[in-house]
Amino acid sequence: MTTLEDFKGRTPAWCPGCGNFSILRAFNEAMVELGLSPHEFVIVSGIGQAGKFPHYTRCHTFNGLHGRSLPVATGIKLANHKLKVFAVAGDGDCYGEGGNHLLHAIRRNIDIKLFVHDNQIYGLTKGQASPTSMKGMLTKTQPFGVLSEQFSPITLAIALNCSFVARGFAGDIEHLKTLIKEAVNHKGFCLLDILQPCVSFNKVNTFEWYRQRVYRLSDNYDPTDRVKAFEKSLEWGDRIPIGVIYKKERPTFEEQLPVIAQKPLVEQSFNFEKIRELLTKFN
């Protein structure tokens, strides 16, 4: 059995009061409750405040480039599907710079759990708009306010028939923890978008702003109804739902690959003798 001590990482360099602290706590507690040990999973992260996350817990870590956590995670999962693979990204990271990878990771339905720390802002680069920033938000680089439509990751994921789509809130740690656990136990690609107040740069979407709007989905909400889920995903304004919004069992990418049906790629030894046969193809 692991305890929270086992997940004590480096000291976070986040601003005091940042929503990331709550996510870190929910995550570590979820790992303890799932009985996972640090060496049983990998976190691949990008660059941003969220990207620093794996250093602050304990796990195998590939802290890669801005926007590129999903392809790295895909490579890891295909090389060793016995490992649990999590990707942690920021909203700019995953919905902006790495947007294309998100589409295709969802299509593949590779068994990766993606946690997006969605603060609706670029935190690390000091407050530019992100794809999830709300229309009209004024920043140093959006002098006339955000002109583009706000991006809805939940709607997009449902449109792509993503296997597991959920939204959590850093201000509701208990609920967030259950979502993380549910995602980890789900087979297939999971998108968990986590509303994460940035106390330094997002003066619009504050803890208070979210608290007034966020509500937990009721127990009789049916996440398997895709059309209803789509409708639910459009709810953003006075009320913002959190919980599992859509769920769909689909065969995973790695299950469908005959090459790794018997055992993970990394455990397959190299048979040099077979190479002679390879060269006969050219005779």
């Binding site: 480096r10 040990s37 640090p38 060496h39 049983e40 990998v42 691949v44 660059i47 620093k52 794996p54 250093h55 304990r58 796990c59 195998h60 870590t61 590939f62 802290n63 890669g64 480039l65 590129r68 999903l70 392809p71 790295v72 995670a73 895909t74 490579g75 890891i76 999962k77 295909l78 090389a79 060793n80 016995k82 490992l83 294309n100 990878h101 589409l103 295709h104 690959l257 005959p258 090459v259 790794i260 790629l265 990394v266 397959q268 190299f270 040099f272 077979k274 190479i275 002679r276 390879l278 060269l279 050219f282 005779n283």
Partner: protein
């Protein structure tokens, strides 16, 4: 014996089928073969050709003059008739080309009529043409029949028989009608292997234990992707067509981090997208092999043609300062062994190794007696599972004497494998302090480079040791320059210095003296700005004044380069 056969026609007419079948027949018959292709970036129409050189001696490039021109369109005749040798023949079908050529060296073979009457379908015209060429050459047809049986084995007896009848019809027709054909064909030897540059890289990768190949299609690198994919099931390789080249390199890095040998490949445009990943590989010290098959740029350039203009781009690819190796094979044989070396060096030093080729090498076929598998090296440099399990403490980026840190596989031990694209400490965690930063640069760069240089082979000297004239070249220029040296040797004291391991330059520098002693150095490159000569000057101070450059997207033939060289020597 040394014949050149050119098959010309529109895309989609089956030039490739005729060419490939003939090359394989020649190879099986024990001849040496060299082929190169010239095609447009389109699926139908246009004008393409496939040129085969067949000989009883080693041939390593194309000649300008041709002995048999198989004209599947009129364009082939108008464009290539003037390339005919004094005894050169044209094989054509007057009813298909809707034109009659009343010349003694034009052999009108009713390819389509014969195809219909003997094979039952017009599609057999290509195999009739193959039979006719074999007939013109006066070769015995048995090997052709054998090969046809092998090619169509999976398609059933009916198809085999139709093809055999068609081939025989073409063969007999040519034997009977071509009275002026007087090609001498010497006897048979042992079968040989026939292989393209791309296939050799694919085979080299598989023979080095590649387990993961992710890429995005781009000519002329796609052949490697195809070859690895064809063999994926048999050899247990995961191949994935990534959403873009950025994903391709990041996936390969993920797989490599997780413990398997991984590779990606592209051409210049796709490689441009991968560049940030090259830098990521350097910072995280993740081994990776990248095949960069060049084509003329900038931008989309000439998609199906050849150039050597991405050398300096590859050299500088990736922000920051870090070691990397660039290998540039000169032929498929070198491609096979150097791909093996690429995997070995990448894992040994935890670096990026780029295999730099071009369309000319990627698509041209060479024949060999055999590849010597004993020359391959397979050493697993990762931490052994048992050792890793027993380690009390593990630091992925530990400081060591050699700069090489232990490469552990995540999940094999309770020890954690941590790495970061940010500057990091020995454990792999993000840091900002100056002292660690300096030590990491020393580890990654200064400690490794001298060791890598020890593993780099010096350039290949072909010709006299004390030559007056030295031709300097790299990569795919090898075969062409080598044959030119062979022809000039009677008149001049001449040699070739060919570089296939381009960067870093080897620790062994004896060849530098050799260069300094030569009277005339001539640098030959398939680009506009002599990029290798610049690299050489930068690294050694040697300044080459004479340059032959070609940048029209077409490779030199032996004869074209000879002429250029004569011009040059006359002016000197």
């Amino acid at each position: 014996m040394d014949y050149s056969i050119k098959i010309g026609g529109e895309a989609g007419q089956g030039i490739q089928t005729v060419g490939d079948t003939l090359s394989h027949i020649f190879t099986r018959a024990g001849y040496y073969v060299f082929t190169h292709q010239d095609y447009e970036s389109r699926i139908r129409g246009g004008h393409n050709f496939y040129q085969i050189r067949v000989s009883d001696k080693h041939v390593t490039a194309s000649r300008s003059l041709i002995d048999i021109l198989v004209a599947l369109d009129r364009e082939s005749i108008s464009q290539h008739e003037r390339e005919l040798n004094h005894n050169g023949h044209v094989l054509y079908d007057s009813s298909f080309l809707k034109q009659n050529f009343d010349r003694p060296n034009f052999l009108d073979v009713p390819l389509f009529d014969l195809a219909v009457s003997y094979g039952g379908s017009k599609v057999m015209a290509n195999i009739v043409a193959v039979g006719a060429v074999i007939g013109m050459l006066g070769m015995k047809p048995e090997i052709m029949y054998e090969l046809i049986k092998k090619i169509f084995k999976k398609k059933g007896d009916e198809i085999i028989q139709a093809n055999l009848r068609s081939a025989e019809a073409g063969y007999r027709y040519a034997r009977e009608k071509c009275l002026t054909c007087s090609f001498m064909v010497s006897g048979f030897e042992s079968p040989k292997l026939l292989i393209t540059g791309n296939e050799a890289i694919g085979a080299g990768a598989i023979a080095s234990g590649v387990k993961f190949y992710s890429a995005y299609p781009m000519t002329p690198s796609t052949g490697i992707f195809n070859f690895v994919a064809e063999n994926a099931r048999e050899f247990g390789i995961v191949v994935e067509q990534a959403e873009d080249e950025i994903a391709a390199i990041n996936m390969a890095l993920g797989a490599s981090f997780a413990g398997v040998r991984a590779m990606t490949g592209s051409s210049g445009g796709g490689f441009a997208l991968m560049v940030e990943g090259v830098s990521l590989a350097a910072m995280t010290e993740t081994p990776i092999v990248i095949a960069l098959a060049q084509r003329p740029g900038p931008a989309t350039g000439l998609p199906t043609r050849t150039e050597q203009a991405d050398l300096l781009f590859a050299l500088y690819a990736g922000h920051g300062e870090f070691p990397k190796v660039i290998l540039a094979p000169g032929n498929p044989e070198q491609a096979f062994y150097l791909t093996n070396k690429a995997f070995d060096l990448a894992e040994k030093y935890q670096i990026t190794v780029i295999i730099l080729t071009d369309q000319y090498l990627a698509d041209s076929q060479w024949s060999y007696e055999r590849f010597d598998l004993n020359k391959l090296r397979y050493q697993n440099y990762r931490l052994k599972e048992e050792d890793f399990k027993n380690l009390k403490e593990y630091k992925r980026h530990a400081f060591t004497e050699t700069g090489i840190s232990p490469l552990g596989i995540p999940g094999q031990s309770t020890n954690l494998v941590v790495t970061d694209s940010d500057e990091h400490d020995e454990e792999g965690h993000i840091i900002e302090d100056a002292e660690t930063r300096v030590k990491m640069v020393e580890k990654r760069l200064f400690k490794k480079i001298p060791l890598i240089r020890k593993d780099i082979a010096p350039p290949l000297l072909y010709g006299e040791k004390n030559s007056d004239i030295v031709l300097i070249c790299w990569g795919s220029m090898y075969g062409i320059v080598k044959e030119v040296v062979d022809e000039f040797r009677k008149r001049y004291k001449i040699a070739m210095l060919h570089f296939s391991e381009l960067y870093p330059l080897p620790e062994d520098q004896s060849w530098i003296e050799f260069l300094k002693e030569a009277k005339i150095l001539i640098n030959i490159e398939q680009n506009a700005t002599s990029q290798f000569a610049r690299l050489l000057r930068m690294e050694t101070g040697i300044n080459i004044e004479n340059h032959i450059n070609r940048f029209d997207g077409r490779p030199f033939t032996v004869d074209e380069l000879k002429e250029k060289l004569y011009d040059y020597l006359r002016r000197l």
